[in-house]
C-alpha cells in the first residue's frame, strides 16, 4: 500500500531548501517509544488545532508506526503520491508534511478563514431565500448541491492563476446543457493565462474577448438560488474560490431583467414587475434623448400645452437643452457614485444634501428647468429597477449614446439609434446563443443548438 517515495524526487532537504526564508516554516520531529515522525508545515496556512488534535495526539496513543500510518491515511484529504512541484504546492496551501519512516504523507490541515454564510447584499429580494454565496468554494458547492439534488449535476474543477492558484469549479446539468457552450467554455478556460485571479469580473472579462462590448454576457451573481435556477435552464455556472460570486453563462439579455422575485410572486404580479422593469429600462435609456429631441428639434411632436410648459420652464436657462441634460445627468452620476463609496453612516447625508442642492437650488437659480429635474430623477430611479448591477451600469452608459444622437440629429437620430441598438443586440451571441430575440423561451432547456 505504501509506495516507496522516489528519493530523487521529493526529499525533505530539497523541500526545506525551496522554502528557505520562510519565517513561519515549522520543522519538528516527534519521538515516541516505537519510532519517530518528521513534521514540516507552514504555520500561517496550517491549522494548529487540527494538527494537535488529529496528528500529534493520536501519534502518542498508537502502538506502532504502521498503525499510525494507516490511521493518517483514513483522512480523506491525505495525499501520498506527489511530485516535487505538487509537494510545494500542497505545503503552501496548508498541508502538513509527515515523514513516516521513509515515506511521506501530506495531511490536510488547511486553515480556512471562512466568512460564514451571509445574507445577500447586492441582489436582495423582499421574500425568499436570503443566503448569499460565501468566499469558500466548498461551502458554495454544498449550497448548490443541497438545492440541486440530481445526478445530472456535473462538476469539473481546475486551477487558474499561475500565482494565485485559484480553484475554479464548473457546474452544469449534463442533461440540459448545450454541449457547444461547454466545449467553447473549456477551450477558453484552457487557454487562459493569468497570474492572479481573484474576482469574478476578471474571469468574466477573460472569457469574452471583445474589448468594445458594452453589454454583459454572463451574469455575476451572489445568489445560490439564481445559480440553481439557471443550471436548471441548461446554463453553466462557474464558481471561483475566494470570491463569493458565481458566473452564469451563456446569459442573454432577458436574463438580466429577471429577478428571483418573479418566481416567488403570483404569476400576474411577476409579469407586472417584469413589465415595470422593461418600461424602466426604456425610460432610463430614452428619456434624456427624447427631452433633447422635443426641446431642440421637434417641439411640434408634443401637444401645444406641454410645449408651452417646457418652453416656460426653460425660459431662464442660458444654454441649450443638450448641455442642460448632460450637466444634470453628470451631477446625478456623481451623486450615485458618491453615495456608493461613502461609509454607510454618511451616505444618506450626501444624498440628501446633493438632492436638495440639485433639485431646489438649481431650479431656483434658473440654471435648469423644473421639468429637467423631474426627468433626471425619473431616469435615475428607473435605472435602479434593473436587478443585476452589471446590466444596470451598462444601461447607464448606453443612454449617453442616445443622448448624443438626439443632440445631433433630433428625432431621426433617436430612431436611427434605436434601430441600430436593436440590430446590435440581435447580432450579439453569448457562447453561440443569440443574445436578444423576441421569443426567448424557444430553446431553453428542451432544444439544444439546432433550430432557433
Amino acid at each position: 500500500m505504501s509506495v516507496q517515495q522516489d528519493k530523487h524526487n521529493v526529499s525533505l532537504e530539497w523541500i526545506k531548501d525551496q522554502l528557505n526564508g520562510f519565517a513561519d516554516l515549522i520543522d519538528r520531529t516527534l519521538v515516541a517509544p516505537f519510532g519517530q515522525i518528521d513534521l514540516l508545515y507552514i504555520k500561517s496556512v496550517a491549522d494548529g488545532q487540527i494538527l494537535s488534535r488529529n496528528v500529534i495526539t493520536p501519534f502518542y496513543e498508537m502502538e506502532n508506526i504502521n498503525a499510525y500510518h494507516n490511521y493518517i491515511l483514513t483522512y480523506p484529504g491525505t495525499e501520498e503520491e506527489t511530485t516535487r512541484e505538487k509537494a510545494i504546492e500542497l505545503l503552501l496551501s496548508g498541508y502538513i508534511l509527515l515523514g513516516l519512516n521513509d515515506t511521506f504523507c501530506f495531511f490536510d490541515a488547511m486553515n480556512r478563514e471562512i466568512s460564514g454564510v451571509n445574507e445577500t447584499s447586492a441582489e436582495s429580494i423582499s421574500q425568499g431565500p436570503s443566503d448569499a454565496l460565501t468566499e469558500d468554494i466548498a461551502i458554495n458547492l454544498n449550497m448548490i448541491r443541497r438545492r440541486y439534488q440530481s445526478t445530472n449535476l456535473k462538476m469539473e474543477t481546475m486551477v487558474i492563476g499561475d500565482v494565485s492558484k485559484t480553484k475554479v469549479a464548473i457546474l452544469y446539468d449534463i442533461s440540459r446543457v448545450d454541449p457547444n457552450v461547454l466545449a467553447e467554455l473549456r477551450e477558453k478556460m484552457n487557454t487562459l493565462k493569468v497570474d492572479i485571479l481573484q474576482a469574478m469580473g476578471e474571469l468574466e472579462k477573460f472569457l469574452s474577448s471583445d474589448s468594445l462590448r458594452i453589454l454583459p454576457k454572463s451574469i455575476v451573481t451572489e445568489r445560490p438560488d439564481r445559480v440553481v435556477f439557471n443550471l436548471s435552464e441548461g446554463k453553466v455556472a462557474i464558481m471561483l474560490d475566494t470570491t463569493g460570486y458565481a458566473i452564469v453563462l451563456p446569459s442573454i439579455f432577458n436574463d438580466f431583467f429577471t429577478s428571483m422575485d418573479d418566481k416567488i410572486q403570483l404569476p400576474i404580479v411577476g409579469r407586472f414587475l417584469k413589465l415595470l422593469r422593461i418600461i424602466g429600462v426604456c425610460m432610463t435609456l430614452w428619456l434624456p434623448a427624447i427631452y433633447v429631441t422635443l426641446t431642440a428639434y421637434n417641439p411640434e411632436i408634443i401637444r401645444v400645452q406641454v410645449a408651452l410648459l417646457i418652453s416656460g420652464s426653460r425660459a431662464t436657462v442660458p444654454y441649450p437643452s443638450f448641455v442642460e441634460v448632460l450637466l444634470m445627468l453628470m451631477m446625478m452620476e456623481f451623486l450615485t457614485e458618491a453615495s456608493l463609496r461613502l461609509p454607510k453612516a454618511i451616505g444618506p447625508t450626501a444624498t440628501t444634501v446633493g438632492g436638495l442642492i440639485l433639485g431646489q437650488a438649481a431650479t431656483a437659480a434658473g440654471l435648469v428647468g423644473n421639468i429637467m429635474i423631474i426627468l433626471v430623477s425619473a431616469v435615475a430611479i428607473s435605472n435602479f429597477l434593473i436587478p443585476l448591477n452589471m446590466m444596470s451600469l451598462s444601461i447607464r452608459v448606453l443612454k449617453y449614446i442616445f443622448l448624443f444622437a438626439a443632440a445631433f440629429l433630433g428625432l431621426v437620430g433617436v430612431v436611427v439609434c434605436v434601430v441600430g441598438f436593436a440590430m446590435y443586440l440581435c447580432n450579439q451571441r453569448s457562447f453561440g446563443q443569440p443574445y436578444f430575440r423576441l421569443f426567448f423561451l424557444d430553446n431553453l432547456g428542451k432544444k439544444k443548438g439546432g433550430e432557433h
Binding site: 417641439p299 410645449a307 408651452l308 436657462v317
Partner: protein, 365 residues
C-alpha cells in the same frame, strides 16, 4: 487603426450636422392665424396670435402678443412679421385659422391652399370664419383662459365644451369637401363679443369658394344632429300646452336616396333619439303615458324643423351633407352619375321620420 477611423467618422458626422436646430425657448409659437381682407384690393391683413410662455408656472398669467401685417400675399406678411419678433416664429403648433368674413365671402381657396401646402402646418388645424373680422376674434381673451389661445383650441376641437352649436372643420376636411364632387364645405362662425367673450353658434354653408348661406343657431343644431352621431343637446316638445325640454343622450341619423322609376327622387331621413326629460314648464307629475306623448310631440316638432332646414338647403343649391357623393357611391354609371344627380337635385323630395324615445323623466317624476 479602426479606432482612428471611427473617431474621424464621428467627428465628420458632428461637423456635418452643425447647429441646424432651434431650441424650444428660441421659438415663439403661433397658436392662431387670422386672415382678413387688406385695405388694398386683393391684399391680406394677417394677424398672428403668439403664445409667450411663462417662466413661473405657479403664477398663472396668460401673456399673448398679436401681430398684424398687411401685404398682397400671405407669405410676404409672415416674412415681414419675422423681423418684428426676437425669436423664430414656429407654425407647427398653430391650431386654428380664422378667416375674416369678408375674405370668406370672396374666396377661401387661396388661404386653404396655402394652409395645406405649407409643410410645417398641421392638417388637423381648425378652420373657422371670424365675425366681424378675424383680428377681433383673435383678440378675445376669456377670463378662464390659462394657456394662450387655449379657449379657442378647446372650443373648436371639441375637447372642451361639447356645445351642440359648434362643428369643427379640420383643414383636410375643408380641402376634401371643396374639391370633392357632390359635397360642399361648411365652416363654423366665431363672433367676437367684446374683449372677453366669443360666440360660436352658427355655421356658414359654402359653395366651393365662398359663403353662400349662414344658418341660424337652431338650424346649426339640427345640421349637427343630422351630420354626426350622439349630439348632446336639448330639444323642445310641446304637449297639451306645456313646454318640455328633453336632453338627447343618444342620437343617430341616417338617410337613403330613393330613386323610383316613376315619380320624384326622395331623400328619406331617419332620426333616432334616446332622451331624458330635462325641463317641464308645469308642476304636474310626469306619468309614463305623458312621457310617450312628449316623445311623439317632440318627434313631430323635430321632423318639422328638419324638413324646414332641408328644404332651405335645397333651395340654396348647396350640398353640405354630401348627398351627391352618397348617390354617386351607390351607382356604377361613373361617367353620367353626377349629371343625373344634378338633374335630380332640384326636384328632390324629403321625408323625415324622427323616432324620439324619452326613457327617463329625470330624477323626479
Amino acid at each position: 487603426m479602426r479606432r482612428v477611423l471611427g473617431g474621424i467618422g464621428i467627428t465628420l458626422l458632428l461637423l456635418l450636422s452643425g447647429c441646424d436646430f432651434k431650441e424650444i425657448d428660441l421659438r415663439i409659437f403661433v397658436l392662431a392665424i387670422g386672415v382678413d381682407q387688406g385695405a388694398e384690393e386683393g391684399g391680406f391683413k394677417i394677424s398672428l396670435k403668439l403664445a409667450i410662455p411663462q417662466g413661473d408656472v405657479t403664477k398663472i398669467d396668460e401673456k399673448v402678443q398679436i401681430l398684424t401685417e398687411e401685404s398682397p400675399n400671405i407669405s410676404e406678411a409672415l416674412r415681414r412679421m419675422k423681423s418684428r419678433v426676437e425669436k423664430e416664429l414656429d407654425y407647427s403648433h398653430c391650431k386654428s385659422i380664422v378667416l375674416g368674413e369678408a375674405v370668406a365671402r370672396k374666396d377661401i381657396l387661396h388661404v386653404m391652399d396655402w394652409a395645406v401646402r405649407r409643410r410645417d402646418m398641421q392638417l388637423i388645424l381648425n378652420f373657422a370664419i371670424g365675425r366681424p373680422e378675424a383680428l377681433q376674434v383673435l383678440q378675445v381673451r376669456p377670463e378662464s383662459e390659462r394657456i394662450p389661445s387655449n379657449s379657442l383650441i378647446l372650443a373648436m376641437s371639441g375637447q372642451g365644451t361639447e356645445s351642440p352649436f359648434i362643428s369643427s372643420v379640420y383643414s383636410f376636411q375643408l380641402m376634401r369637401n371643396i374639391y370633392e364632387k357632390g359635397i360642399d364645405p361648411i365652416l363654423p362662425i366665431i363672433e367676437a363679443k367684446g374683449e372677453k367673450e366669443f360666440l360660436i353658434n352658427k355655421i356658414a354653408l359654402l359653395n366651393n369658394e365662398k359663403i353662400k348661406m349662414v344658418l341660424t343657431p337652431n338650424e346649426t343644431r339640427i345640421y349637427n344632429l343630422l351630420s354626426r352621431p350622439n349630439l348632446r343637446t336639448n330639444l323642445p316638445a310641446h304637449s297639451e300646452g306645456v313646454m318640455y325640454q328633453y336632453y338627447t343622450e343618444r342620437s343617430s341619423s341616417h338617410y337613403k336616396i330613393l330613386t323610383p322609376e316613376h315619380g320624384k327622387a326622395t331623400i328619406r331621413y331617419h332620426i333616432k333619439i334616446k332622451g331624458i326629460l330635462e325641463e317641464s314648464s308645469s308642476p304636474d307629475l310626469v306619468t309614463h303615458s305623458m312621457l310617450e306623448k312628449i316623445a311623439v310631440a317632440g318627434g313631430k316638432e323635430l321632423e318639422a324643423d328638419v324638413l324646414a332646414l332641408l328644404t332651405k338647403i335645397q333651395a340654396s343649391g348647396l350640398d353640405p351633407f354630401g348627398w351627391g357623393l352618397h348617390y354617386g357611391a351607390r351607382h356604377f354609371n361613373n361617367d353620367t352619375e353626377m349629371e343625373v344627380w344634378e338633374g335630380l337635385y332640384a326636384g328632390l323630395d324629403f321625408q323625415v321620420k324622427a323616432e324620439v324615445n324619452i326613457k327617463y323623466s329625470g330624477l323626479i317624476q
